[in-house]
């Protein structure tokens, strides 16, 4: 009995469930041959929630806010891109199924898209959410010039608070 008490952790394990803030940084690089013709960095903020549904399964629901310029008016258009996924309770891996209503697997086949996100726990405490990904494809214009496009994605996030 004494031994059992001695090894009991002082704090209760931090659950994966909760509110998370996340940011996605994308590095764009467009090349013709070995020449870089365009390079840029873009970022999107977002937030998400890992929750247990009524059947005890861990799910992820969130969004990224994307900004775009209206080509006609020049106004900034803000749009929330929904993220839907499931969470592995053992590994913390977040398997995104859809991003903005589009299948992640379609992007994988067409643009070499990958995105791996994982909730990181250290000594039973959720310390953050990390992810990385990439996309690459080529396009040849009417003049026969092939441009190689590549995006490198980095996801960083942290748990802001517990669910109510």
């Amino acid at each position: 009995m004494v031994m059992a008490l001695a090894i009991t952790p002082k704090t209760q394990a931090d659950p994966l469930t909760g509110f998370y803030k996340l940011s996605v940084t994308t590095e764009f690089e467009d090349k013709i041959g070995d020449d870089i013709i365009y390079q840029d960095l873009d970022g999107e903020y977002g937030s998400g929630r890992v929750f247990e549904n009524s059947n005890g399964k861990l799910r992820f629901s969130g969004f990224l806010t994307s900004y775009d310029d209206d080509e006609v008016t020049g106004d900034v258009i803000k749009e929330r891109i929904a993220l839907v996924g499931i969470v592995n309770p053992t590994t913390g891996k977040v398997r995104l199924i859809k991003i903005g209503g589009e299948l992640v697997s379609d992007w994988a086949a067409e643009e070499n898209f990958t995105l791996n996100i994982r909730i990181i726990k250290r000594v039973d405490v959720v310390v953050g959410l990390n992810g990385n990904g990439s996309a690459s494809w080529s396009e040849t214009d009417e003049g026969g010039v092939t441009t190689d496009f590549s995006d490198t994605l980095r996801v960083v996030g942290y748990k802001t608070r517990e669910l109510p």
């Binding site: 937030s47 009524s54 040849t140 190689d148």
Partner: protein, 390 residues
């Protein structure tokens, strides 16, 4: 009178001769045009040897190819692209004769989008002829680069699902278990549902492929079915969805309904059968609805929900607005009925706002100082900073 008659006859003869010459010249020109056309065919085999149907087949494999019948685009495309397309057309021919040789050729290509296009074409073709053999080959060659594996499996699954969807689903379920790559399984469900939702729905309700595949199957089926026939999809969710996937299936319905008809989506969320999942359902509803009309969404929350559910909705609205409009997010947080939530959420948003833009946040605090609980200001370090300022 006689002279006039003669002249008329002469004119008629001249006119007839002219017509005869013109007729002969027209035929001669026609022969030349045909000759040119044949010559052009041999120079650009893809434009003429690929029937529109075949071109559709290529696109069905998920490729960004030339549009079928779009001759302007075909004739205007670059020489390099034409070379690539010729190569792919030859590869398609080889795939129909010897898939393994075609794959060997694809694996020798430089990595990139052309290689992936080629892989999809080969597996699309092989799936038409012998999908089981193609599936076996993929499972025996799982060590090839991940992107090629994904491309091959999706091309196979899409094509196979048109001829034998049950077999395609069983194979892609097995592939999913072995590789943790869900693309082929997901695409099979989508393809089958588009073709025959009744059969797909019956199968999904009756068979289990494991926890994650079942989740994917249900979500994708409901999503596609709801696009085709929302009423039928809602009925399917009610009667056929396994109990453990009910919450997910309801979410898929709400995602679709909230975009199309938010008022009906609210009715669906508030149905007594669905109240068990109201938290996640509200989450999905508000995420979609606030994209189009945040004022209407807020009004509905204010006027239609019970205090407990209203708090859940305010928390979600605060999350949605906190990055772009923190002042509005704090208003939602301050409207929370539960004291503890009100404190926690307000503190969280204010603290974050100060980290991002201290000037704006402190300006807002100074204007709303009397409305914010002093303990929150202490916790975020505002009071101490203000009191220590000279």
């Amino acid at each position: 009178m006689g002279l006039t008659h003669f002249r008329s006859r002469l004119l008629l003869i001249v006119a007839a001769l002219f017509l005869a010459i013109a007729f002969l010249a027209y035929h001669k020109l026609g022969e030349k045009t045909e000759g040119l056309s044949e010559k052009h065919r041999s120079e650009n085999p893809l434009t003429y040897t690929l029937s529109p149907k075949t071109a559709v087949g290529l696109d069905a494999a998920g490729q960004k190819g030339a549009l079928p019948g779009d001759k302007t685009r075909l004739s205007g495309k670059s020489h390099k692209r034409a070379e690539q397309d010729t190569h792919l057309a030859e590869l398609l021919k080889l795939a129909s004769q010897s898939p393994s040789d075609a794959i060997a050729e694809v694996l020798n290509m430089a990595p990139g989008s052309l290689q992936r296009r080629a892989m999809a074409i080969v597996f699309d073709q092989w799936a038409k002829q012998d999908p089981a053999a193609a599936g076996t080959w993929i499972l025996q060659n799982k060590t090839m680069p991940q992107q090629l594996l994904t491309t091959a499996s999706i091309a196979l699954a899409k094509q196979w699902s048109t001829s034998a969807p049950e077999n395609a689903l069983q194979w892609s379920g097995s592939y999913f278990k072995q590789t943790d790559d869900h693309g082929a399984f997901q695409n099979t469900i989508i393809s089958w549902t588009r073709q025959d939702p009744a059969a797909a729905g019956q199968h999904i309700a009756a068979y289990s492929y494991g926890e994650t595949p079942d989740y994917l199957a249900t979500m994708e089926f409901v999503n596609i079915y709801a696009q085709q026939n929302l009423e039928a999809a809602m009925q399917w969710v009610e009667t056929n969805t396994p109990q453990d996937l009910q919450p997910d299936a309801q979410l898929a319905i709400i995602h679709r309904l909230a975009r199309k008809d938010p008022a009906r989506a609210t009715e669906y969320v508030m149905r007594s059968d669905n109240l068990e999942n109201i938290e996640s359902n509200l989450d999905a509803l508000l995420l979609q609805w606030t994209n189009t009309d945040i004022n209407a969404a807020t009004e509905w929350v204010n006027n239609s929900l019970s205090p407990e559910h209203r708090d859940q909705a305010y928390i979600q609205l605060a999350e949605i607005t906190r990055d772009q409009e923190p002042a509005i997010a704090i208003q939602y947080a301050q409207a929370l009925g539960d004291d503890n939530y009100r404190q926690t959420v307000t503190k969280d948003i204010l603290s974050d706002w100060r980290d991002q833009n201290r000037g704006a946040a402190d300006q807002w605090i100074s204007e709303n100082f009397n409305n914010i609980d002093t303990s929150i200001l202490v916790d975020i370090g505002y009071s101490s900073e203000v009191s220590t300022e000279p």
